[in-house]
């Protein structure tokens, strides 16, 4: 188990990168602590897989260093890195039984049979696979196979981190839920660092202690799920985290402050105005979850008419059209009591309305 | 990769390359020898070990008594091989497609059995068929003709085409043809408009195997012809007299190998692109 440090780590598949856009992963500094869960989140092609491959040792980075417990492992081969990995599609040794699969990494390391037996038994119990130990691994279902993959990492006591490369893709939604919980429990019980790569923000949120949001090879924001949710550093994070995405309402500079006709909410104008012709874009970001719908007669910062109600089960998403034509979405559990065409008042707690200047969170002015 | 392993691999590749090339180099050297250069023991390098002579090569393009002319057999061989391969490929592709997409049932006979029937044709040793084929072609008046040989070769090559193409089609998702049908194609239309254009790698592999096995067949070419039609392998054995002219044989061998060496280049190209996956399984 180890602390993982990415020190100015970057990668370009070109031998001689000319500019920023030649990097599949732009240089980044990150520190991951021992024992926590992390998620690398982003759309396909964002560089998350490249980062994972660098950590696993499949891709040698073109720039920077990778440290495991302050040891430089940048050029250490995969087999010597003490990591474990679960892949998108289950990888098992098809000719072996579950027991033999779990024992394999230990056999490769020349461990004594009695020790192997003990470790395999422990891990099988942990994974609830005791009953299947002597079944051929290939006959198990996809989620069980993923557990075996995981188990092959867990049996080793020297593992620095477990890398999970979209491991839930091939799993049914209902099973996903169970497997995710299993992963968290294992993390808790073993204290192993886990790094999950995913495109699914809800998966990342529910799994990770800390999430690294990436786009176009660049780390957008790294923080706890709570931070990402309540303080998205830019409009992309606001969009990518949370479903439906953050409402973005354009603000105009007006009488020393930023305001909109849509709702009655203002933000202070930044002191340093941009130079030259570069007119900045000012936006207010409000999470749909933070919009409270109240009776149209009550106190509110604006009113909107319902144009769409999406029923998602316990909660629903209501789309409101403000008089100015601005459309915002709100998430509520009272959707079943609403009908199209109803008008509601809107309330937003001031701290939940965030100012973005040119797409970046203006931390000083919130 | 450690050094020991790397060295081992290099040595292995080197050794095998020498093994592969050796008979060709020997044939090349021999093709420039004459009787004296051969009877005095093994010799290798012209001018150094022996005085080169070009009689091996000239005899291949001279007529009648002075040698054998390989131009005619070359054309006949090419014609028979190409036509038979083409016919086998067409029939085999259709059958393979049918076997991979539809269920056939004839009593207890099912798809797997039909496929096995096709492939089992290759188990039959050629000797079994020599006399019956002879009689059959005689009845058809097709002895000693290109047509007759094509007929026999189709029986020989069809199983190969079916084998390769069945595996290839198994790798093409059946959703593709279903989609074509939902888009308004008949099953036959779906095959021609959608599946066939996407089967080039499989067709190349199957075609290549047909060409190889057709081009190299000796036995039927030998038994079912008299004088009018003569294929390349048969004309080389006409040099296999009690006094064997090693030089002509060697030159001949090199020439007959040449066209298929080109095939090897094509095959390598497809293989390294990975497009052959699914084409062979």
């Amino acid at each position: 188990m180890a602390k993982i440090v990415l020190e100015n780590l970057g990668h370009s598949y070109l031998s001689n990168p000319k500019g920023e856009h030649d990097f599949a992963l732009k240089p980044v500094n990150l520190t991951w602590e021992d024992g926590k869960t992390y998620a690398l989140l982003g759309p396909s092609g964002c560089g998350k897989t490249t980062m994972l491959n660098i950590i696993s040792g499949l891709v040698p980075p073109s720039h920077g260093r990778l440290l495991f417990d302050d040891q430089d492992v940048t050029s250490v081969p995969t087999s010597a890195r003490n990591i474990a990995q679960v892949f998108q599609f289950p990888v098992i040794y098809s000719t072996k039984t579950v027991r033999q699969n779990l024992a394999f990494p230990l056999e490769c390391r020349g461990m004594t049979p009695s020790k192997i037996k003990q470790r395999v038994a422990e891990v099988a119990t942990l994974l609830d696979l005791d009953y299947a130990l002597d079944m051929p691994a290939r006959k198990l279902s996809a989620d069980q196979k993923q557990l075996i993959s995981l188990g092959r990492g867990l049996v080793r006591e020297d593992v620095s981190a477990i890398l999970l490369d979209e491991p839930l893709t091939v799993i049914d939604p209902q099973m996903k839920f169970m497997l995710r919980r299993k992963l968290r429990e294992i993390n808790r019980q073993t204290g192993m660092t886990m790094i999950l790569v995913t495109h699914d923000q809800s998966e990342a949120m529910s799994f990770a202690d800390e999430i690294v949001v990436m786009k176009d090879g660049l780390v957008q924001q790294s923080g706890t799920p709570e931070e990402l949710f309540s303080q998205p550093q830019n409009d992309f994070v606001g969009y990518f985290i949370g479903s439906p995405p953050m409402n973005m309402i354009t603000l105009e500079p007006n009488l020393g402050s930023l305001s909109t006709e849509a709702i009655n909410l203002t933000k202070p104008l930044p002191a340093a105005m941009p130079v030259g012709n570069n007119v900045s874009i000012y936006q207010m970001g409000i999470r749909p979850e933070h919009i409270v719908m109240v009776d149209k007669e009550s106190d509110s910062i604006g009113k909107g008419t319902i144009i769409k109600i999406e029923h998602l089960g316990v909660d629903g998403v209501v789309t409101l059209k403000l008089p100015t034509g601005v459309i915002i979405k709100a998430k509520t559990r009272k959707h079943t009591e609403m009908t199209l065409g109803d008008t509601f008042g809107i309330r937003v707690c001031k701290k939940n309305a965030l100012l973005y200047i040119d797409g970046t969170l203006s931390s000083s002015l919130n | 990769m450690n050094k020991f392993y790397h060295t081992l691999k290099t040595l292995f590749l080197l050794g095998w390359s020498i093994f592969v090339v050796f008979p060709f180099l020997w044939a090349l050297s021999t093709s420039f020898k004459d009787a004296n250069a051969i009877t005095s023991g093994a010799t290798y390098i012209p001018w150094v070990d022996f005085e080169p002579s070009t009689q091996g090569w000239t005899s291949l393009f001279t007529n009648g008594s002075q040698g054998i002319n390989i131009v005619g057999p070359f054309i006949d061989s090419a014609a028979v091989t190409l036509i038979a391969s083409l016919v086998s490929l067409i029939l085999g592709t259709l059958a393979a497609y049918g076997l991979s997409r539809f269920e056939y049932r004839l009593g207890f006979v099912k798809n797997a059995d039909i496929t096995f029937f096709f492939i089992s044709q290759r188990i039959m040793p050629p000797i079994v068929l020599a006399i019956p084929f002879f009689l059959m072609l005689k009845e058809l008046g097709a002895l000693d003709t290109i047509f007759g040989l094509v007929l026999v070769y189709v029986a020989l090559l069809l199983p190969i085409a079916v084998w390769v193409m069945t595996d290839f089609f198994a790798g093409i998702p059946k959703e593709l043809d279903e989609m074509a049908m939902t888009d308004g194609c008949s099953p036959i239309g779906a095959f021609f408009r959608v599946i066939l254009p996407n089967s080039v790698p499989g067709l190349v592999v199957a075609g290549m195997f047909c060409l190889i096995f057709g081009w190299n067949d000796f036995f039927f070419a030998f038994t079912l012809t008299f004088t009018e039609t003569q294929l390349l392998p048969v004309s080389i054995v006409s040099l296999n007299s009690s006094v064997t002219p090693w030089w002509s044989l060697s030159a001949f061998a090199l020439i007959s190998v040449a066209p298929l060496a080109l095939v090897a280049i094509v095959v390598e190209r497809y293989m390294s692109r990975g497009t052959m996956s699914g084409a062979i399984r």
Binding site: - | T39, S40, Q230, S238
Partner: protein, 511 residues
């Protein structure tokens, strides 16, 4: 696909055109590669007068060059002279039989003219056209020796067209045998004088002595004996040569391979077993790989100077005496070794002979014939007659790889061979060896019966098993005898006897 008339080189074509266009000057046929046209029934001139244009002739022959090359050459000439199209197909020896037989048995008129091994007459006779009287009366035919006329005759009718003469005899290196130094050393080492082997025991002894030494001083090892020992090649002939003197008693009549009366196989009789044992023993004097030698290997080995002695057809002898040969005129011919003891099956004892018993093997050779099914019989016989005309025969004899050997009396002429550049001993020993065989009263002929291939293949298999050490000589031949009895059973004794009688008649000098 060798269509002579179609693929002729432009130069030849021009020459032929000139020849054809000017019949008045046509007495000169040297452009065909002969010294001069010789008068005769089917001379160039006579053939030139015929017109077969628009007609075609299909010929099957042996692979190039042996027989195959002269066939192609004469076909080319015949086509040029008569305007016929002559298609020639060349087939390796091992497959020649079936290539001819399959069409025969299935009534397919595939070939007009056939060149093949004369011993197949027993199988082919029903399909062959008898030689018309006018060709029997031809100048060439009248000079053919009695042996070879006999070989061509079946039930009193000539159905094969003789164009080659064959027999086995001994070939040896005179530079060793006549070398005083070597003779002295041999005497000192073995206690007996070095002479040309009189018996097969002698042969083996001499071969063993000279094996594995570099006696010609060229830096490469030399060996004792080169023999045809590859099973499916012509090994059966070698075996017959070796076994004949032990099994063919000059006083015992009525069959060599079979007892003509009972049609019991004699192949496992003590004479044959002795012959086989000596064959097996001889292997240690073979060059490396010698027990897999085909005829071609034997020719390369002896003709190339690698081995001291050899016996079989003329090819190696002629090869050794080619103009560019390294051992030209260092070889001589002698009769096949004989036997000091001969098995007498009448008495069931070994008879001792003071002068070794010789039993010259008039082994099969090349012969030709016209198919009964042919629709061009006249042209076919004309072609054969032309093939064997005086000028062609003489020309072909001179070229070793052609495989055409003396079969007319005029060929057995020392001066003719001296004219080829052969020196005295080489030419004289050759002619006398061949002539003596014609005179012999104890000749052995091939088993010219239906199913001969089965008998020979069975025998070759048994011999091969013994040679490979899989079985003892006696066991191997017992096995062969058993198979022979089975084959006899299948063919039918009477049918077999009727055919075999033809052979016995020749052997017993009644033919």
């Amino acid at each position: 696909m060798i269509k002579i008339s179609k693929f002729i080189g432009p130069a030849t074509l021009l020459a032929l055109a000139v020849a054809a266009a000017t019949p008045a000057m046509a007495k000169d046929y040297t452009q065909f590669g002969i010294e001069k046209d010789l008068p005769g029934t089917c001379s160039y001139e006579a053939t030139d007068a015929k017109d077969y244009s628009g007609r075609s002739l299909n010929v099957i022959t042996h692979a190039i060059p042996v027989i195959g090359e002269p066939t192609a050459l004469h076909a080319e000439q015949f086509a040029a002279l008569t305007g016929a199209e002559v298609n020639v197909v060349h087939v390796p020896f091992g497959d020649l039989f079936q290539r001819i037989m399959i069409p025969f048995q299935s009534d397919q008129n595939a070939y007009d003219v056939l060149f093949y091994a004369s011993l197949w007459i027993g199988d082919f006779n029903r399909f062959l056209e008898p030689v018309p009287q006018k060709y029997i009366d031809s100048t060439g035919m009248s000079d053919v020796t009695d042996s070879f006329t006999g070989v061509a005759t079946w039930n009193g009718e000539m159905i094969q067209y003789p164009m080659d003469g064959d027999r086995h005899y001994l070939k040896y290196r005179t530079d060793i045998f006549d070398n005083a130094e070597v003779q002295a050393k041999f005497l000192a080492d073995t206690g007996s004088a070095l002479t040309v082997p009189e018996t097969w025991e002698d042969y083996n002894k001499v071969a063993a002595y000279f094996n594995d030494r570099d006696w010609d001083g060229d830096g490469e090892l030399n060996y004792g004996s080169a023999e045809v020992a590859k099973r499916d090649d012509l090994m059966f002939s070698a075996f017959i040569s070796r076994a004949a003197p032990y099994a063919k008693h000059p006083d015992v009549k009525g069959g060599f391979f079979f007892d003509l009366e009972t049609m019991e196989p004699l192949i496992n009789s003590p004479g044959f077993v002795r012959g086989l044992q000596l064959f097996v023993d001889a292997q240690k004097s073979f060059p490396p790989g010698g027990n897999n030698f085909g005829l071609g290997d034997e020719i390369f080995s002896f003709g190339g100077g690698q081995t001291l002695m050899s016996y079989s057809w003329d090819d190696a002898y002629v090869q050794a005496n080619q103009k560019d040969s390294r051992i030209r005129n260092m070889v001589a011919a002698a009769p096949l070794p004989g036997a000091g003891e001969v098995w007498n099956r009448d008495t069931g004892t070994w008879d001792t002979f003071a002068t070794p018993n010789r039993a010259p093997y008039m082994t099969w050779g090349w012969s030709s014939a016209v198919s009964q099914m042919s629709e061009e019989k006249e042209m076919a016989f004309d072609f054969l007659c032309f093939f064997a005309n005086e000028a062609n025969a003489k020309n072909d004899l001179q070229i070793g790889r052609f495989g055409v050997n003396p079969y007319r009396n005029e060929h057995l002429d020392v001066d003719f061979w001296k004219g080829q550049g052969w020196e005295d001993k080489t030419a004289e020993s050759y002619v006398s060896t061949l002539s003596d065989m014609e005179e012999s009263q104890n000749r052995v002929f091939d088993l010219r019966v239906p199913g001969v291939s089965q008998f020979m293949s069975s025998m070759a298999n048994g011999v091969a098993e013994a040679m490979a050490g899989q079985k003892s000589a006696q066991d191997a031949l017992d096995g062969v005898a058993k198979e022979w009895a089975e084959i006899t059973e299948r063919i039918g004794k009477d049918r077999l006897r009727a055919a075999y009688a033809n052979v016995v008649k020749l052997e017993d000098n009644e033919g």
